[in-house]
């Protein structure tokens, strides 16, 4: 435990996390993953699908306490999570969904966030009336409305079409830049990681362990094609070097 006082960092030190399957078989999921993020950081976790990225995010969110190691979130602080599924209340309107989670949100802030995310005309709609892409944006607006100190996003772009992903990335860039918070997102897509993050953590296949950490010098800036492919290659190489790369 940290001494009395405020902690502005996210400290992750997972020694081991095992998962017991329904048939009673113990599967090692995570091993030796440690990193620290300061306020303002935007970090991405990449790795092959099924390697345990979501599991790691759940540990950081405090939804699963059954692991060896230690995780310290910014304290005092507010946590916000954008899950893979939007997880909206189907019986409340878009606006109510946000206000229930963030009752203190200022009208102006909500307005601005609706504007940026293109949700203005949907605020009185029910989640069932929205496409998946729109529902994801509502989940994002909801997360931002609590003014989090730590924002976790789990595959925020999965199963969205390319154009929507590009739009959403631009929107997140605008929203993330303006806030004093730690953003950590999980993705299997290297190019999203490069375009959004300033640090990229590369995980190996299961049991996932931290095999490389790549710092992007000028994050969220337009990048030359060579620079981008250079980063992508580095991340790819790191994954290939993985000691336990027996595939997911």
């Amino acid at each position: 435990m940290s001494p009395v006082g405020a902690r502005t960092r996210l400290e992750v030190a997972v020694g081991a996390k095992a998962y017991v399957s329904a048939s009673g078989v113990k599967l090692a999921t995570l091993e030796k993953i440690a990193f620290t993020l300061e306020t303002g950081a935007v970090a991405a976790i990449v790795g092959p699908s099924g390697c345990g990225k979501t599991t790691l995010l759940r540990l950081i969110a405090g939804l699963d306490a059954d692991f060896e190691g230690h995780i310290a979130r910014p304290e005092p602080g507010r946590l916000a999570v954008v899950f893979q599924e939007p997880r909206l209340l189907a019986w409340r309107t878009v606006e109510d969904n946000i206000r229930i989670v963030a009752p203190d949100v200022a009208d102006a802030q909500l307005e601005a966030s609706f504007e940026t995310l293109g949700l203005g005309e949907h605020r009185t709609h029910f989640p069932g009336e929205l496409s998946l892409g729109l529902a994801r944006r509502v989940a994002l607006a909801r997360a931002l409305a609590v003014n989090p100190t730590l924002l976790l996003l789990d595959e925020p772009f999965a199963s969205l079409d390319g154009a929507t992903v590009l739009r959403l990335i631009e929107e997140i860039k605008t929203l993330v830049a303006a806030r004093p918070m730690i953003t950590l997102f999980v993705t299997h897509d290297i190019s999203t990681a490069i375009s959004l993050a300033d640090r990229v953590f590369v995980l190996s296949a299961r049991p996932a362990t931290l095999i490389d950490e790549i710092v992007i010098a000028k994050p969220r800036q337009p990048m030359s094609a060579e620079a981008a492919s250079d980063f992508a290659r580095r991340i790819g190489d790191a994954a290939a070097r993985a000691p336990s790369g027996q595939g997911a």
Binding site: A61, L63, V81, L89, V101, H125, V146
Partner: protein, 245 residues
């Protein structure tokens, strides 16, 4: 419209039946209606109907409140479920009459025993339905509520209650019809007012007119509650479903 035709047909069949069976066994609809107006004019009908409805309301509210809380706890907690289940099976299989008689013997011939006995008959039913509802709660929304630290009461109101509402409506619907039937038995056995008591009087005197003059308005009132209170509530709680794209 078809309902009205059907209803008119029912009245006609009743009239013919009355002619065949004789007025002593089955008085015709008009005779019953006249008796009904007599009882209404003297105020007796409203008094007994009111007393019975008050008992229905009290027993129903009590049973739904207790049943819902126990049901949700059992649906959410494995240990509570294991502990409560044998009691539930016992109560579910105990005949209503046994509960009523035992309540009168142990508690006495009073209102507490009457309403308690009726509620006790309905509680296991409500528990079973609400437990199903609690088991079907969305674990993903639970996690969402947890990471966003939604306070307990707001979570109850916006996350839990809307998911449980369809189960609650179903329990209320079946509960109401169960409660108002048992209330008459309770009144017949141990109260000196109410529709059940009047029906018992009519039975002792073999007064078919009186019996029907009390039974029909009561059925009418309960149908009204079902149509104008319970069903609109059911529609209202599932209103968001109709909005699905």
């Amino acid at each position: 419209m078809l309902r009205l035709v059907s209803l008119a047909f029912f009245a006609l069949a009743w009239e013919i039946g009355a002619l065949l069976a004789g007025a002593r066994r089955l008085p015709g609809p008009l005779a019953v209606l006249a008796r009904l107006f007599d009882e209404a004019a003297s105020g007796a009908l409203f008094f007994h109907l009111g007393v019975t409805l008050a008992r229905v309301a009290a027993a129903f509210t009590l049973a739904m409140a207790i049943g819902a809380v126990i049901g949700v706890v059992m649906g959410r907690n494995r240990v509570a479920d294991k502990l409560g289940d044998p009691w539930l099976v016992l109560l579910l299989n105990l005949p209503a009459l046994v509960i009523v008689v035992l309540a009168y013997i142990w508690v006495g011939l009073n209102e507490v025993a009457a309403i308690g006995a009726v509620a006790l008959n309905k509680i296991p039913n409500a528990v079973v339905m609400m437990r199903e509802g609690a088991r079907a709660l969305d674990a993903q929304l639970d996690e969402m509520a947890e990471v966003f630290r939604i306070p307990f009461w707001r979570r109850m109101r916006h996350v839990l209650a809307p998911q449980l509402a369809p189960y609650f409506a179903a329990a209320a619907r079946s509960g109401l019809s169960l409660v108002w039937k048992i209330v008459l038995v309770v009144e017949m056995l141990g109260r000196s007012n109410g529709v059940g008591f009047q029906i018992n009087v009519a039975f002792q005197l073999f007064d078919m007119q009186l019996l029907l003059a009390y039974a029909l308005p009561f059925v009418g009132v309960m149908l009204g509650v079902e149509t104008f209170v319970v069903q609109p509530f059911e529609r209202n709680v599932s209103r968001w479903r109709t909005h699905a794209a």
